[in-house]
Amino acid sequence: MAAAVSFDLERAWRVDPRVSMRPEPFGALLYHFGTRRLSFLKNQTVLAVVRSLADHPSARSACLASGVTDAELPAYTRALAALADSKMITERMPS
C-alpha cells in the first residue's frame, strides 16, 4: 500500500470499453484487451460499485448507492485507485 492514493471520488468514472468483466463466485475478473492485464474484484460490493460507475455523477455516489459506509470508504477508494492506475476504469465527462 505504499502507493499514494490519488483518486478523485468526486469525479465521474466508467469501466474502459476495452475491458471485459466476468462475474465469479467471489466477485469478478476483469481483463483489459488493450493492456492485456487481468484484475480481480474481491467481493460483490466492489463489483456493484464498478458496474454502476457509469450511472453516477461521481464515484462517491456510486459507492454510497452500493451500500459502502463512511468507514469503508477509504478502502473502496484505494480499490478504485488501483483500478484507475491499471486503466481498468477511466474518467468520463459527467453527463
Binding site: 471485459s20 484487451f33 484484475s39 474481491k42 469503508e72 480499490a79 488501483a82
Partner: protein, 461 residues
C-alpha cells in the same frame, strides 16, 4: 497465471513498486499478457488493502476451489510440427488424423466467447502450420477471445508480422531455448535459432512492440539469462522464462536438461531481482520455498482450477503439462462440449478440492510452494501429495530415491525419424540412494500456474 496477493509475506515487493500486506485486498491486477500463461505470467500490482470485514477469504483459496471458466486456457491446435525439440511437452511431430476440423474449432471459440474466457494460449505442435491457422485467429478476435500463440517462427515472414502488429487481440510468443545458436539448436534442432531470430526481426521491423521471447530454462541456458534479456531488449520484446517439465519428450531429456540445485538458486535470485521485467507463467512457484520471499504471481498449481488444456483432437486435460489419461477430463466433441467438461468433470471436481498438503504439510515452506508442480511429480513417479522432484528444500531427492517407476503418456506424435529415446521403455529398478530417477522414469507434463505456453509454460503467460 497467477494471482496471489494473499500469499505474499508482508514486505514482499510485487511488480516492483507495490508492497502487499496480508490485509484484505479488494482488487488487484495481474499482467497476463503473457502470456503464460502461464504464464504467462502474471505480475500482481496495484493491489489495494481494505478492511478485513470485506474479506471473503484469501484469493488463493478461492481460486483453489475453481472458477466458472478458466483464466488461462491452452489450446494446442495441432500435433504437427516442423521441429522435434528434445523437451517437447506434447511429444509433437506428426499431425493426428482426428484433429478438430475448422468448423469444430470455431464451435469451441463460440463456447469460449459464451464463457467469457478472455483469451487462449494457442500452441501445438507448431500451430501456424495448420492451413486454417490465420482464419481461426481472425475468428477468435472477431468473437472477443484474445489469442496469444506460441511459435518457433517458421511462418512469421514480413507479411505475417505486419498483420500481427496491427491487431490488439493477438499476441505472439517466439520460442528460443538458447541465447546462442549452439545451445538452442542442441535442444530445438538445426536451423531453429536462425528461424526464431528472423521471426523476431520481422516482428520488430513491423512495429510489433512487446511480443514475447519465451525460454524454457535448462541447465545449459541458465548461464545465459542476461543474454536472453539483451536479445529481448534488442527486439523490443518481453522476456518470458518458464520451467522445464519432465513431460512428453521432456521425460527423456530431463536428466540432462533440468537445472542443477545451485542453478535453481541462481535462477531464483535473478527472478527476485528482475521479476518485474519478465513473465514466468508463474511456473517457478516451487522456487518460492527458498524463503527469500514469494515470486510474483499465483503461487499455486492452477490445473483444473484456473487453467486447462484442449489438445488437437479435442481432449481436455487438467493442464498443458499433463497429457496423460490420468488427467483427461473429457472431450469437446462430447455432448455439452467444453463448458460441460470444465464444469462437471469428475477429475476437475477432485482437483478443486482443498489441498491437504500430504507429506509436505509439516514443512515450514508449504505455504510458499504448495508442494510444487503436479506434472513434475507425476512424471517422475512421485505421489501427488508429496514434494516436487526439484523441491529446493531437498525433500525431492529423498522422495525420488524411493520413487516408483514413473508413468509414460500413451499420446506420442513424435516424428518416426526422430532419434529413439536413449533409455528403454521397460521399467527399470530404482536404486535406493540414487539422486535422480533414470530418464525414462519421467514422462509428461502439466502446468503450474497458468499459462501455458505452447512449449513449457505453466499457466498463463
Amino acid at each position: 497465471m497467477t494471482l496471489a496477493p494473499d500469499m505474499a509475506p508482508p514486505g514482499t515487493v510485487l511488480s516492483g513498486s507495490t508492497v502487499l500486506s496480508k490485509s484484505t485486498v479488494l482488487s488487484g491486477s495481474t499482467v497476463l499478457s503473457k502470456s503464460t500463461v502461464l504464464s504467462g505470467s502474471t505480475v500482481l500490482s496495484g493491489s489495494t488493502a481494505a478492511g478485513s470485514s470485506a474479506n471473503p477469504g484469501k484469493l488463493t483459496d478461492l481460486f483453489q476451489l475453481g472458477l466458472d471458466a478458466p483464466i488461462c486456457l491452452t489450446w494446442e491446435l495441432t500435433y504437427a510440427c516442423n521441429l522435434s525439440c528434445v523437451h517437447c511437452l506434447s511429444s509433437s511431430g506428426r499431425r493426428d488424423p482426428r484433429e478438430l476440423s475448422t468448423g469444430e474449432c470455431k464451435a469451441v471459440i463460440d463456447t469460449l466467447e459464451r464463457m467469457q474466457v478472455f483469451y487462449v494460449n494457442i500452441g501445438g505442435g507448431e500451430p501456424t502450420v495448420r492451413p486454417d491457422f490465420w482464419e481461426l485467429v481472425d475468428y477468435a478476435a472477431e468473437h472477443h477471445v484474445g489469442v496469444k500463440f506460441s511459435t518457433n517462427g517458421v511462418k512469421l515472414d514480413a507479411k505475417a508480422a505486419a498483420k500481427l502488429a496491427a491487431s490488439d487481440y493477438v499476441d505472439v510468443q517466439i520460442s528460443l531455448d538458447g541465447a546462442t545458436r549452439e545451445v538452442n539448436d542442441a535442444v530445438r534442432g538445426p536451423g531453429s535459432y536462425d528461424t526464431a531470430m528472423r521471426a523476431m526481426r520481422n516482428l520488430a521491423d513491423a512495429g510489433f512492440k512487446g511480443f514475447k521471447l519465451s525460454v524454457v530454462m535448462t541447465r545449459h541456458n541458465i548461464p545465459q539469462i542476461d543474454q536472453f534479456k539483451e536479445i529481448a531488449d534488442r527486439f523490443g520484446a518481453q522476456l518470458r522464462l518458464t520451467r522445464l517439465r519432465p513431460s512428453g519428450r521432456g521425460a527423456d531429456s530431463w536428466d540432462e536438461l533440468h537445472p542443477r540445485p545451485e542453478q535453481q538458486r541462481e535462477l531464483y535470485d535473478w527472478l527476485v531481482a528482475h521479476g518485474d521485467q519478465v513473465l514466468t507463467g508463474d511456473s517457478f512457484f516451487h522456487l518460492s520455498a527458498f524463503g527469500g520471499g514469494a515470486l510474483p504471481g499465483l503461487n499455486l498449481c492452477g490445473a483444473g482450477r484456473v487453467v486447462c488444456l484442449i489438445d488437437p483432437v479435442g481432449d481436455v486435460y487438467a493442464c498443458p503439462f499433463a497429457i496423460h489419461e490420468n488427467f483427461l477430463a473429457g472431450n469437446v466433441r462430447e455432448a455439452g462440449g467444453f463448458e460441460s467438461v470444465w464444469k462437471t468433470s469428475t477429475l476437475f471436481s477432485d482437483l478443486r478440492k482443498p489441498d491437504t498438503g500430504g507429506a509436505c504439510k509439516s514443512c515450514g515452506f508449504y505455504d510458499s510452494c504448495r508442494g510444487g508442480c503436479m506434472a513434475a511429480k507425476f512424471f517422475t513417479g512421485l505421489p501427488m501429495d508429496g514434494p516436487d522432484p526439484e523441491c529446493v528444500q531437498g525433500y525431492g531427492e529423498a522422495a525420488l530415491a524411493s520413487a516408483v517407476i514413473a508413468p509414460r503418456s500413451s499420446v506420442d506424435h513424435s516424428h518416426r525419424t526422430s532419434p529413439a529415446p536413449r533409455t528403454p521403455l521397460e521399467p527399470v529398478p530404482v536404486t535406493i540412494g540414487r539422486r535422480r530417477p533414470p530418464a525414462h522414469d519421467c514422462d509428461e507434463s502439466p502446468l503450474a500456474g497458468f499459462a501455458a505456453g505452447a512449449e513449457q509454460g505453466c499457466g498463463c503467460g
